[in-house]
Symmetry: C2
């Protein structure tokens, strides 16, 4: 096991600013490309991250402290950002992500200092059953990384043919 709260927060606080510098100002060719029908482009990934900030991570952590194993987390709809409610430019969505994330990191620190043995407290996931606060927060971190990785993969595939014979050397295309 590797998780520590400080190191986890290091990633959580860097994701918005990393995405801001990676994505802001890119052509539509990049930010609107996806991996085919039913897959997400970079804008939709940012919408999904914002949904998670509003409805997933902190609400579930609060349930762990308030309900423990007496209630099951509500199901988080991973496609909820596709309902068309998320308006605004990508720059605005990234700004919203930064604001939500900053507020949520403050809330995370507050919740963890209010409860003893906070990281070992448990809740009930609708699919997995018992999970700990430590697992939830670790997942929040890796969830950021999985979607950063997704955006990078989508972009890479756009040039899969353009690289010609170099395709063989480029791990991200495999």
């Amino acid at each position: 096991m590797s998780f520590t709260l400080n190191e986890g927060i290091e990633i959580l606080e860097r994701t918005p600013v990393t995405l801001e510098h990676f994505l802001t100002g890119l052509s539509k060719g990049w930010i609107e490309c996806n991996e085919g029908d039913g897959t997400w482009n970079a804008i939709q990934v940012v919408d999904h991250l914002n949904e998670g900030e509003k409805h997933n991570w902190i609400p579930r952590l609060k349930m762990i402290f308030q309900e423990g194993e007496h209630a099951v987390f509500p199901v988080f709809d991973r496609d909820s950002h596709l309902n068309g409610n998320a308006s605004g430019t990508l720059a605005e969505k990234l700004q919203e992500f930064a604001t939500l994330r900053s507020r949520n990191i403050n809330m995370l620190n507050e919740l963890l200092t209010q409860h003893e043995n906070a990281l070992d407290r448990t809740g009930v996931h609708p699919a997995f059953g018992t999970v700990t606060a430590r697992e939830l927060i670790s997942t929040w971190v890796v969830h950021d990384l999985t979607h950063l990785s997704q955006i990078v993969r989508v972009f890479s595939k756009r040039y899969a043919e353009d690289v010609g014979p170099w395709q063989e050397y480029l791990g991200v295309l495999k």
Copy 2:
């Protein structure tokens, strides 16, 4: 085929600033972790990117314009950054990357405007044979993305066990 020079440069110019915001200030636990013996940590990836800026992309592009198919590119040693010559802190290495990359994008623009049908000009790769300038530049872009993806994957795997049952949902861990 998707490559356009302007869009390719959009990625090339963002990679240093993206890595700077993603990596600067991270604990040793992150920047020194790798995927096991013989694999690279984030610092080594940045060293490798710097080697490419010095010895791979622009030198090969120059060979295309100067030699065409009359000479074979020298082999680029993908492990040359492991010889211990790369000193300095990660912040210094990232600053070096930004400086080298900025200079190389200027050189790229200069070389392409100096030659007619520049993107269609060809050179000889030691393993693949004939390659075009367009393929070389596309590869430069995807090479950035492949190493960004690598760093993200290395970080993710660090928490592969910490996420507990969520492992199933997190694509980057697969």
